[in-house]
Amino acid sequence: MGEVIVITSGKGGVGKTTTTANIGTALAALGYKVVLVDTDIGLRNLDVVLGLENRIVYDIVDVTHGHCRMKQALIKDKRFEGLHLLPAAQTKDKTAVTPDQMKELCRDLKKEFDYVIIDCPAGIEQGFKNAIAGAEKAVVVTTPEVSAVRDADRIIGLLEAAELHDPKLIVNRIRPLMVKKGDMMSIEDIIDILAIDLLGVVPEDEMIVVTTNKGEPAVLDNNSRAGQAYRNMARRITGEDVPLMDLQDDTGFINRLKKLIGFK
């Protein structure tokens, strides 16, 4: 029996879809059977980040309404045997799926997959309620900004109210140099405020833009710092004890030099 994990944030644009795509791909690369579910109905994105947009025939609404069988809607990734996507519907609205339908869907999926990872839409409305309905664990993504942390706090409260206890935190887009200068909240600051456990930290990384352009998640690129962070998180999800990587280090000149001459 697999595990259903929802990736949420409250605030939009902080990196939920990027996180879902990368952790999912990393888990598949470790040999697990993974399905990524896009619940952002009307604003389908996960397909593009994964580079699977041209292969969509059916979507989540077709499945929950019985227009097709589950198997027909799942898109199988060609790079990793175990990786699958259940795309969101693009033309319907958020109310096209109900929390009860989501629960049933997740129940079915976790019979077949080791990990069911749900990409939640921004906000706290129906789309959020749908996304968390069938989940057993939650991950909250934030960036080191006042508004994002505030929304994360709200989401943590709502998850608690929905009996999704003990959510894990991802801090995305950290810029170590700014933290050092005192111009960005540090991981410790954010954990201190939100009081939940950390799943991982992702540095600001231009490679995210490059890899997203190509539809190849950053975890596939061994030079991407963000990719490394996501690979570590995937291993933590499987229960492995992986230390946080040193973010400070690699921004240094010497390290960049080392990388250039193939030392890393």
């Binding site: 006042v146 505030r150 933290v179 200068k181 111009d183 909240m185 405020i193």
Partner: protein, 95 residues
């Protein structure tokens, strides 16, 4: 310039990160103080229980609210007293 010097000499208090933290702290006091009516009702009932050990109060006129102002949140209660209890009476109740 002063700001720059302060930063160079390690006076962290002026850094924008600390401003962010302080703003967050305040905004979250407000956000989290957004108690549900149900929770407020439970608080009221508990208050009545405790206070009744000391005095007789008008339960129907009792008011308990969260009062939020710019930089603080207070629990404000207005509890009309009907009669004080005698101390012997009280000892009995608590004892």
């Amino acid at each position: 310039m002063l700001d720059f010097l302060l930063r160079v000499f390690g006076r962290e208090t002026s850094s924008s990160k600390n401003v962010a933290k302080e703003r967050l702290r305040l905004v979250l006091v407000h956000d989290r103080a957004d108690m549900s009516p149900q929770l407020l009702q439970e608080l009221k009932e508990d208050l009545i229980k405790v206070i009744s050990n000391y005095m007789e109060i008008d339960e129907n006129a009792l008011e308990v609210n969260l009062d939020t102002s710019d930089n603080s949140v207070a629990l404000v209660a207005n509890i009309p007293i009907i009669r004080m209890k005698r101390s012997s009476n009280r000892a009995e109740k608590i004892g």
